[in-house]
Chain length 284, copies 6
C-alpha cells in the first residue's frame, strides 16, 4: 500500500543499475505532416502490454528472465525540433555510456536519428537494418532537413555508403529509389535478401529500426500514413527470428504507432508483441 | 402487422419442437480480465446476419434448407460466476435432453465449460476440437479457478487426457505449454495436424469450440485480447471444410466477439459467416 | 534517468506516511448490467489530469499546497463480487486506521459500499451525501443483493434512517421512490435542499459519494447508463462550493466514469476536475 | 425456452388486439442530403430502452400500466421515395382504422408526412405541434418536392393555414421564415408561446411531431444535421409536461435519431426517454 | 493568395481540354440496403491522396507524367434513383463524346450502370472485367430492378452473354451462381483465370469495374457489406499488374468505399492507391 | 463540367479582388502539448458548412449578401515554429495591405499571434477581445516562449496594458490570474462585464479572438484540452450579438477546433455557425 504507483512495460522491472537493457519512449511527432499522434504510443503500450504473456512461444524464452529497466518517456519541448533532437541525443548518450543496450519506442521515425547517432558514436562501425514502408531518403521535406521523411538520409550523412539495409519499402519518390541504388541496399516490397544481409552483418555492431508501417495497414492500422500492400505479421516474425543469428545487436527501436487510429487496440498489441520479441532478441 | 417483433439469426426460423439445431447466445463476460464486451455479441450478430446470404458457395448448401431454432439469449445474474455457470448448464442440459444439436454463441470462453459439460454428460466419449490463440490451460487465474484463462483445463478435469485437440495456439505461459505436452494435443500457431486429427475422430462424438481470436487481429479486431500472428479467414474456412468429414459433431460454439472494438462491423461479419458455416456443418 | 516510471494524478506526489489524504482507484464493474467499462476509469484519469492546472480559480486554492498520496489501484479478482468487496474493505480499513482521509475513484457505484462501511466503522455517526441520477435503493437486482442498483440500500442496512441525503435523483422504480420517503432524504432532479442539509450536517462526520451520472449525459456521456435531464457542470460546482461549509468531511468518492464511451475525453476531464475540487475540499 | 426471440421497447408487450397504442418504426432516410443513418434508430432504441426504468418520476406514471403493442419496423424499398411513402401511409391507415392511437419513430422527418396524413384523414380538424431546429417549409429541395426539408410544407398542402404550430426553430432560409409569417405559427428559438398554444388546442385533435434536433447538439449529437443553440433536455421535458393539458392527442412521432453519430449512447437514451414520456402522454 | 481554393486528387491538375482522362466522383448510395455511406467516398479520398506519393514503384511510372482532370462530384437529387441514373448517364456521355477516357469513383455499385452504358454506347463491342465479393446478378432486389444487388445483371441486359468476366465472387444466392454459369464467366473466390481472360480481351475495348469489397474486410473494412474471406492487397495489385497487357481499356471505376466505417483511414488509403494505379493503367 | 473542383466555406465565393473580407485557415498545431489535431479544422469545416443555411435568423442577415473570398489554407513547414509564425505574418500583412478585413480559422491559439500583430501594425490603437477557457498568459511554457499557453502574453508584449479584455476564463496558474489583475481586464467564468467593455471600445479598432474552448466541453467536445464549466452556445451567441455595437472590428479569429475528437460533427457545426455569425458581424 505504501508504494507509489509505478507503471512499466510488462516484466521490465529491473532497477537502472542492474539492468542490461534500457527501454524508453520518445513522445515526439513534431514533423509529422499528415496525421499526428505517435506521441501517445508509449502511454498506450504500457497498460496494454499486460494483455501479453511474458513468455514467447516463438523464441521459447521468457521476459521474466531478462533485466530491463523501463525509463519512462523523455520529456521534450513542443514546436522546437532541433532542441528536441538534442535532448534525445543527450539521454541516449548517457544510456550508452553506462554500458546498456537500449530499446527505444517512438514517436515518429525522426526520433531514430539521435538514437542511431548515439549508438554510432560508440560503435563507429555501426550498420543499420531498416524495416519500413517508406524510403525516408529525401534530402529535405517541405523545406526542412529534419523530418520523418528524411531520417534515413540524415543517418547516411554520418554512416556513409554500404551501412544501411532497407526492406519492405513500397513508397517513395523516383529520386529516392534512384539514390538508394548507389548508397544503400534497398529491397522493395519484400525481405528475400534479408537472410544474406544477416550473414554479412553477423559479427558487426547492428542497430535495428522498425517502422511498424512496414506491416500492411490491415495488420497495423494505427499509424499516420497507411500504405497498403505491406507485410503480414508472420513475415515480420520471420524477420525477427532471423535476427537471432546476429551476434552484436547494440540497440533497436520500434516507431510510428499512433494508437488513436485503431480503436480495437490491435495495433498497440502488435507494437507490444514486437517490443517483447525485440527485447528478448537484445537480451540473448 | 399483428405479429410481435421477432428477431432471429438469418433463416433460423424453425419452431423449437421442429428444430434439429438450437442456436442460443450466452451474454456473459464476468471473468474477462482485460477488456469486457462479449456480452454484446449476440445482440450485434442477429441484425448483421442479414448482410449475409443464406447460401454458402463454400459448402454449396443453403441455410434455408435447415431447421434451426433461435432461442435468444440465456438471462444471467451479474457478478456471480458460479450461479451463471449453473444456469447455462441447466439450459444446455434441457436442449440436449430434447434431442437437439446446439450451436452456442458467447460470451467469453468460460461459457464453453457448462455447454461442453452438458454435451459430455450425454456423450461420455466426447472429444473436443479447440481453435484458439490462447492455451486456456491455467489451473487458476488471479486466484479464481473459473476463468476464461482456465476453461480448457476445467474441461480436462472431467474429459481427461487424449480428448482435447488444440490448434492455432500462440500465447500462454511456459507452464501451460509444458503441461499440454502430456495432457492434450496442442499444435502451436498452425493447423497442419488438423487433417490427421479429423481422421482419428471421424466416428466419435465431437464438440468444436472456436475462440475467434484464433484469427489474426487484422481479420478479427473485435475481441478483448488481440494476439497478432493468427490465421487468415481462408485458413479458418479450410478448417471448417475439413470438419465436413466428421460423422458425429454433436455441438459447437463460437466465442469471444466483442463487437464494440470493431466499429467497421467486419468482426461481426466474421462471426456471422462462421456461425452460418458451422450451422450448415452441424446440419449435414 | 534512474527513477522508475511513476504515474500519479497531477500533484499527488506525497509519500504515504507524510500524506493527509490517500487517493486510490477501484477498477471494478462486475455487477454492471448494461454497459461495463468503469474498470478503466483511473487508468484514463491519471494521464488526462495533466490537462488540468493544479490551481482552482473556483476555490482559489492549489493542489500543490496539499499532501496527497496516489495509491494506484487495488487489485481485485474477476467474477467474484463478495471477495472483491472484502478486499476493498480491508484496504480502506487500513487507510482509515492510519489516520488518513481518503478519496476513492470507481469503478461502478457498488464499490462505495465497502468504503462507506470502513468510514462508518471509524465514525459511527457517519452521514452520507449522495449525488446521483439513480435511487440505488433496490433490495435486490436480477437476484443479487450486491449490485450497483442496491448500493445505497445496502449502506442503509448499517447506517439506518436519517443518515442518507440524496440529490439529483431522476430514475428509479416507484417502489424505490416510495421507500425513500420513509428512510432517506431524497430530492428528485435538483439540489434546492442541499444548502439546508449542509447546515444540518455542519459538524457531523460526512462522506460524500458522487455518481457522476448525476450530470446530464451531455456533460458526462462517458458512463454506462446515461439518464437525460441531469445537472450542468456549474450546478455540480455550486454543490461542491457549498461543501466548503462542512467541518468534518472524512472521505469522498467519484464513481461511474466509463471513459471509452466518450472518445472526446470530455468526461474524463469532468472526472479529473471533480477529483481536484474534492481533494481541495477534503484538504481544507 | 420454446418461445422465439421477441424484441420490444421496454414494457410494450401488449398484443395488437388488446393494445390502445401501436408503436412502430420507419427505417427510412432516403432523402437525407447530408449524413444518413436514421434508418438505424429503432434498432438501437429497443435494446437501449432497457437502460431506462418503466416508471416516470416526472409524470408519476408507469409504462407497465399502459397497453402498447410494438409493431417492429415497416419494411420499405430502397431508392424509391414515392413507393415508400405509400407503404407507410397504408400501414398507418390500418392502425388508425383499427381504432388505435400510434407512436411512430423515424427515420428522417419526411416519414411524418404519411403518418400525419393518415391521422388527418380520420380527424379532418387535425392540428400539428412541431418541435424542430429547422423550418422544413421549403416548396422543394434539390429539385424534389418530397424531402426532409419540405415535410411541413407538404403537410400544409392538405392541412392549410392555422393548423401548424412550430417551436424551437433556429435554421431556415429567409423565404421560409417569411412564408411562415402568413401560414403557420412559428416561434423561433424558444417555446414561450407553447402554453398559450396548448390552451387554444385543448379540445381539438392534435398530432405532435418531435424532431429531436430541436435539442442542442450537446444533448443530442446523434443526428444528421446538428444545429447549435438548441433546447436543453429540461426544456423539452417542460414542453412534454405542458402536453398533459391536451385532451385529444391522437398520435405522435419522434424522428431524426442517427445513433451512429453518438457512440456514447446518450442520444439513444434521449430518444428512449422521450418515447417513454410521450407514450405515457398518449396513454393518459 | 488570389486563387480560389481548388481541391483535387493528387497530381490530377490538368485542365479539362488538355486532359486525356477525366476523374469524377458519384456521391450516390440511394439503394444501399444495409449500411449507407459511400456518398462520402470522394470527399475523403481527395485530401488523403496526399498521403501517397505520385510515383508507383509497382508500375514504375509517375502520375505527374499523366494528364488527368479532376471533375469533382456530379450533383444528384436524393431519393429518386431513376433521375440520378439519368444525370450520371448524361455526364458520362459528354465525357466520352469529348474523346476522354474516364475513371469513376463511387458511390455504391449501382452507379457503374450508367457509366458502363455510356462506354458501351461508344464501344458496342465493350467487355467488362468485374472484381467483387458479390455476384450482383439479381433480377430484382426488395422489389426494385435498379439496385446495387442487380447492377451487373442490368449491364447484361444490353451487353448480352460472353461479355462479363467476374472474379473474386464469394457471396450470392444459389440462383445467381446458377444463372452465371450460362451468361457470364464467374470465378468464385480467386482470380486464377484472370490471366487467360486478359489474353482473350487483349485487343477489345474493356471496362474494368472494381468493387473494393473484393478485398478482405481486414484490408478494406470501410465498406457497407463486409464479406470475410477476400483478397489481400497484393492479390489485387497482381490483378492490376496483369491489366497492363490490355491494349484498349476505355474506362474504369472503383466503388463501395464508405470511409466512416474505417476510422484508421486505411480503407481510404486502399482506395487512393488503387485509383493511382488504375489512372496509371488508363494512361499507359 | 469544365471547371476544376473548387471548395469553399458556404457562400464565400467572391474573387479576391472584389472581396471585402478574406477567410483563411492556419493548419498549425505544432506547440500543442496535450492532444494535437487543430491542423484538420478547416478541412472539416468547409464541407460541413453546407449543413448550415446562409441566412442567420439571429442577425437577420444573409451570407449571400456579403463578399467573402475563401483563401484556403496557408501552407506551413512542420516542426519549425518560428518559420511558421513568420509565414503567417507575411500572409496576413498582405491581406491587410490590400485593404481587406479578415477572418482567420485556426489551428491552435498560437496562430493568433502573427494575425493580431499584422492587424496591430496597421491599427496601432488595436484592442483585443479574447474569449477563452484559459488565461494564455504564461511567460513561457515547457521552456518555449512561443506556445498556445503564452499567446496572449506575447500579444501584450507589443499591445501593452489596457488593451486586452478576457472573458470566460476558468483555468490558469495562480501567477497568471495575479498578473492579469495588473495588465489585462480578465473576467473569470462569465461575461457580465462584456457589455460595458463594448461601450468602451465602440469606436476603436477591435480584434476579436475566440478560442472555442470557452464553450463547455458538452457544447464543444472537439478540442484538445476540454475544460468543464464553460459557456452554453446561447451565451456565446449573446456575446456575438453584443459585438454588433462595435463600429470598427478589423479582424477576428476562431481557433482550437480539433474535429477528430467529436465524431458526431457537433463541434464542427459549432465552429461553422460561429464563423458564419462572425463573418456577418465583420461584414456589417
Amino acid at each position: 500500500m505504501k508504494n507509489k504507483n509505478i507503471s512499466t512495460f510488462i516484466a521490465c522491472e529491473a532497477a537502472y543499475d542492474e539492468a542490461d537493457i534500457v527501454l524508453f519512449g520518445i513522445p515526439f511527432d513534431g514533423t509529422t505532416s499528415f496525421r499526428p499522434g505517435t506521441r501517445f504510443a508509449m502511454q498506450a503500450i504500457r497498460p496494454d502490454s499486460y494483455g501479453l504473456e511474458t513468455y514467447s512461444p516463438y523464441l521459447q524464452r521468457d521476459l521474466e528472465d531478462t533485466r530491463v529497466f523501463d525509463g519512462g518517456e523523455v520529456e521534450l519541448p513542443f514546436g522546437n525540433t532541433e532542441k528536441a533532437m538534442q535532448e534525445i541525443l543527450d539521454y541516449t548518450r548517457q544510456v550508452v555510456a553506462d554500458g546498456k543496450k537500449f530499446m527505444m519506442v517512438g514517436g515518429e521515425h525522426l526520433v531514430s536519428l539521435p538514437t542511431i547517432q548515439a549508438a554510432y558514436e560508440k560503435y563507429p562501425n555501426l550498420h543499420v537494418i531498416h524495416l519500413d514502408a517508406h524510403t525516408d531518403l529525401r534530402q529535405e521535406f517541405l523545406g526542412e532537413e529534419l523530418s520523418h521523411a528524411t531520417v534515413i538520409r540524415r543517418c547516411h550523412d554520418f554512416l556513409g555508403d554500404g551501412r544501411i539495409f532497407q526492406f519492405g519499402i513500397r513508397s517513395g519518390t523516383k529520386e529516392e529509389f534512384d539514390w538508394a541504388k548507389e548508397h544503400t541496399h534497398l529491397e522493395p516490397f519484400t525481405a528475400t535478401t534479408l537472410q544474406e544481409t544477416i550473414e554479412k552483418l553477423r559479427d558487426v555492431p547492428v542497430y535495428i529500426t522498425i517502422d511498424l508501417d512496414v506491416l500492411d495497414p490491415s495488420i497495423f492500422p494505427g499509424t499516420g500514413t497507411p500504405e497498403p500492400g505491406g507485410w503480414t505479421y508472420r513475415e515480420l516474425m520471420e524477420a525477427i527470428q532471423s535476427f537471432q543469428s546476429l551476434n552484436h545487436i547494440v540497440a533497436a527501436d520500434v516507431v510510428e504507432l499512433s494508437p488513436q487510429y485503431d480503436v480495437s487496440g490491435g495495433s498497440t498489441a502488435v507494437a507490444c508483441k514486437t517490443i517483447r520479441e525485440m527485447l528478448l532478441t537484445l537480451a540473448k
